[in-house]
Symmetry: C2
DNA sequence: TTTTTAGGAAACCAAAAGGTTTCATAATAT
DNA sequence: ATATTATGAAACCTTTTGGTTTCCTAAAAA
């Protein structure tokens, strides 16, 4: 199975989890309590996030604290940002023109 | 099924498709030819991208040109960017400190 | 020392994802 | 007029996803 940041943040629940722990680590049960779905379901999401490196877990007694490693989002940020100037500057009419050209060429 | 930009770009093939048409629209068959998987498989990816608004299709004779609408990536860009200063500025030792605090509080 | 509490993991399930082959149709090219 | 090309769509298949319930263990609290 794919385990990268793109796939990790595709799920809205996982985005929420990252949001929750972005500024302050939380133990696993604190995270799971905030959701309607079962603890095990959230636990699995946390596991996936851990496998992607977006979370690291630190043991503290019997509790395990989830800490967001948001630099792993850089992969996504870089990919998206390469297109920013296109979406901010492009004139749609150019596309139409390019389509015309390509059709004519044949 | 979920149909948003996050889910759309989770698949590497769909990211490649967007890359291909980012600067110049291509007709559907031109896109499908560049991949190892079947035409129909790629066609489905294009359909998903269309449903998300990341692609629009323009008819030109019997051909249909795919045009990237990259501004739909803004949703992803915004979400990711809100965390950039965290991953660039955060000191990991702060997390450890916060975990200590929370454990003590009980 | 008993009882909670935090976390881990297995077994199972339905739906979604990603792929295939096959067939159909409407423009174009020959 | 016929063959080819570009696309659409149905039927089908396997694996992954996201969820559940259940059971287990170890630390901490009463």
């Amino acid at each position: 199975m794919r385990r990268d940041s793109f796939q990790a943040i595709a799920d809205p629940t996982r985005r929420e989890i990252l949001q929750m722990i972005a500024y302050k680590p939380l133990n696993i049960n604190s995270v799971t309590e905030k959701f309607d779905v079962s603890r095990t379901a959230i636990y699995k999401h946390i596991k996936i996030l851990t496998e992607c490196g977006l979370i690291t877990v630190k043991q503290q007694g019997r509790e395990r604290y989830c800490e967001a490693k948001l630099d792993k989002l850089k992969e996504v940020a870089d990919w998206v940002e390469q297109y920013r100037k296109i979406w901010t500057e492009r004139l749609d009419s150019l596309d139409d023109y390019l389509i015309q050209i390509q059709t004519k060429e044949k």
